[in-house]
Symmetry: C2
Subunit: 126 residues, 2 copies
């Protein structure tokens, strides 16, 4: 089956400009440290969203394994991702959670397709 | 190491109310069908964001494997997730992409920790 163009007319760019960076960080926490880990991570998320190059910093837990925490970090560009790693709140978080993790965290990098603009990705921290 | 409460004071609820539903859908597309798949998926994402119970509908591609597409769907509650599956745009998308996938798609369900309110998750489609 080919794509019915009349059903799916594309009116804008199909992708972001390619500068934006979406990172999923998978953390497997020692189960008994999960609440502490989440508390430290929420504080880091709030501080990170105040960085000019950070569009999102979501924290979610896997319903199948609540000790599996995923951070979704969205940066305006590579420089913003580098700048994040140089902030005091990142350093505090990294050191605070170091012994709460059951194993080293893993990350995967993605490119944004939709929303198609930075504005569509901007989170409103609350 | 215990959590230094003075460094990480929690001023709000640590978690969402538990009603919100975050779903990651992993799709492995036949590589030669990737553009068609993304076109159909972006149209579905835009239509889905117009549903009252859909807070986000992101589309991203894995930098390590561009034929690996991840949809991040955020629903206000279970009813909203059910309602999404009953929309015409979902049915069209499902049927359109059926033979573009290399294998059945897989999904994982998550609970929101941060942002702590529905408003913090709301996407502004563009």
């Amino acid at each position: 089956m080919t794509l019915p163009a009349t059903v799916y007319p594309l009116t804008g760019p199909l992708r972001q400009d390619g500068r934006m960076l979406v990172v999923h960080v998978h953390v497997h926490v020692r189960p008994e440290r999960t609440e502490e880990f989440l508390a430290a991570t929420v504080m880091n998320a709030r501080a990170s969203l105040a960085e000019p190059g950070v569009l999102r910093f979501d924290v979610i837990t896997d319903d199948a394994d609540p000790a599996h925490v995923v951070l979704t970090e969205v940066y305006r560009d590579d420089d913003a991702a580098t700048a994040h790693k140089e902030t005091p709140h990142y350093a505090i978080w990294r050191d605070t959670v170091a012994d709460m993790m059951a194993r080293p965290r893993e990350s995967a990098k993605f490119s944004a397709v939709f929303p198609a603009t930075d504005g569509g990705w901007a989170s409103r921290p609350q």
